[in-house]
Every structure is written in C-alpha cells, then in structure tokens.
Amino acid sequence: MKISRFSPAQLAEILRNEGLFLKIGPLIIHFRSEVAAAAVGIHCLYADFERLDRTDFADFHIGVAFSQGIRGWARRQVRFLHDQQPLFQPLPARLAFPFFEWGTNWCISRHANQFLIIHSAVLERNGRTIFLTARPGGGKSTLCAGLVHRGWRLFSDEFALVRIWDGLVSPVPRPVALKNESIALIRSYSPGAVFGPKYSSIEGETLAHMRPPPDSVHRSDETAVPGLVLFVDYAAGSGVTLSPVESSVAFLRLADNAFNYSLLGATGFETLAGVVESSSCYELCYGDLNSAIEEIHTLEPPVLKGCGTA
C-alpha cells in the first residue's frame, strides 16, 4: 500500500512500532522513529512509495530517536541510529527528517558496495543517464530539480549507483534536497513540484526537500546506460558555457568524486572506465537555470558500440 494511503497518525504509529520497510530502487530500508517530525517528512515526501510487508531482509536498519539523558531532556535532541547504534552528534528534534535523509545518505555511501558510488545527481532520458557532479553549492541539486520538471526521470539527487557486474546505473529516487534561494527558484520554475516542510539548519541555511515525481518512483527498478557526464558549476549572473572534457580527465575527476573507487580496486577501475567509455563529458558553468537546461537538451550521448545504424 502506498504511503499516501495512510493517515499521518497511522504512519507515525507504524514508525513507532514495527517500523516502515521501504524499497527504494535496489535497496530496502527499514526505518523506525518515535519522533513526530520524522513521520511528517516521510508522509509528505515518500508519499508515492509502497510500504513493503515486513521482510526478513533490509539493507539498512535505521532510526531517529530522542537522545537519552540531558540531551534528550524535554525531547529537544535526536540521534541517528544505524543497526541500533548511534552515529553522529545529536541534532535538534525539528531536524529529524533531514537527519533521516543525511543518515540514509551515509548508509548508502558507506555500505552499498555492490555499486560504484559516485557523488552525483543522476537523471535519465531515452534509456541513457546524465551525471551532474559539482562542488558543494555548485548548483547540482537545483539543476537536477529543474531537469526533473523538463522531462527527465529522477535517478538520484545524491548518488550515481553503477552496478559493478554490468555497468548499468540503478535509480534511488529519493527526495531532492534544496537550499536557500534554490527553493523559491524551483517553486517558480516548476509550480507542480511538491515540497516538504522548510527547516533552518544549525548553520543557518534554509532547507527543503522536493518530492520525487511518481513516475520516477514507480520506475525505480528500471536501470539505464551511462550517457552524459557534466561537471557543473553555478556562478550567479554568468551565462552558460559548455566545454568538452577529455575522457581520461573525466575519469580522474569522477574517481575523486567516488565514495568507494579505491575500495573496489580493479573492479572500480573497470566499472568507471565503462562509465566514461559510454559517455560524453563536459564542463557546464551556468548562472541561469533555463539557459542551462536548454544547453543540456542540445547534448547527445555517444552511440553505444554495436548499436549504430548501418
């Protein structure tokens, strides 16, 4: 049954008791929480996901719980739990849902080693993916959210999961995290976009998550072939510049952005080479979302070997 079919109170009850089993692409997450703010975020932003029946297996057993002792006094702080063990410093309880998202990111980046994991937004069109990698604040998520509302299927705002056994990319279409001005920009760019609650982070930034579109959620078992790699940089007020990046340079830059390239050893090398060999790679600097998306729509991935027309 879809999450949206439960009332917020029912969902909160499930999260408090047996927990919620969610299938997100190739991963199964088991999430428990007694914190109301976490339930509110899940109800809004995972509305189109199916609740799995209780299963014997989950990739990650995670939770957000009130801190014990003085930190939990008056239920002001929460902890993230992985396999019932607390990780990270506690955060204010109002950040329970972002904590769930960040913690889930950590679990994927540290443990999903059946994939080469690259820090990148990923979208798909016509069976080929586009990777958007950027420094923090480099406009990756904003561009990702914009493309989602211009016909691209969301794979992930955060991770490229490249299967090490066949080189295909798996979707994990979770909510898109946006900050500060990007929130209003995407609201005006995509009036149909659904946003969850706004949060003020401990660093003073405003955060909000955009719900993944239903089509992306329903098709989260459909993999795709790498096609385009963009090294993105946002510079306010600048035009759009697009320049090709040599494959070997793109390889090294993607390796730098991978969480487990070294861990995977020769398999990581072969898998990443497969990504680069089937992709056209560019550097994209933009200051205007519309122009950047227009430019991206002019790009074509290379024809795959053995797939060319006669």
Partner: protein, 98 residues
C-alpha cells in the same frame, strides 16, 4: 640515476597493470598499490613494452626511437632515464637484480 645499457626492467613484482586507452591517453591501474595513473601515449607505450618483454635499457632506447610518438618525437636517453625514475618512484617498475 645512471643506468647501465644492460639493466633489465620489469613491472614491480606483486603488481598487475590494467589498461584503458582513452583517446590520446592511457589510464593504468596498478593492482599492487591500488593507484591509478594517467600516462601520455609515449609513457604508456614504454610501460606496456616493459610489461610485455622485460627489456634492457638498450632495448627501451631502441623501442622509443622506433615508436616516434608524441610528446617526444626525438627522445633522448635522459628522457628515458627520467621516465624510468618516475616509474620507479611510483612503484610501477623495478630493475631486475641478476
């Protein structure tokens, strides 16, 4: 470093090199160190030659002359000496102690 013409070169024992040719570059993965190296055509060609036949320094000089690859169409023995020193520093090759 001064090299004897008769020094024999090989890939460092315990390492296996995996290769990808991408446009005008080689990417080499060293299974021994776990490092990935980006090499130009000539450097990659020399390293592949060492991998294929354990050449002497003299063989390498002759091979380098015959390839005439960029970036050094007229490579000198000092170029080869520097290259072998860099390969050694990176743990990619070693002289064979006879």
């Amino acid at each position: 470093m001064s090299l004897s013409d008769e020094t024999v070169w090989r890939i460092t024992q315990g390492s296996e090199l995996l290769w990808k040719r991408l446009e005008d570059d080689f990417l080499v993965y060293d299974t021994g160190s776990g490092n990935t190296h980006l090499l130009d055509l000539l450097s990659g060609n020399i390293l592949q030659f060492i991998q294929s036949c354990r050449p002497t320094t003299r063989d390498l000089c002759a091979h380098m002359d015959s390839t005439r690859l960029p970036p050094h169409r007229n490579p000198s023995s000092s170029y080869l000496e520097n290259l072998l020193e860099r390969f050694q520093r990176l743990g990619l090759v070693e002289p064979v102690r006879l």
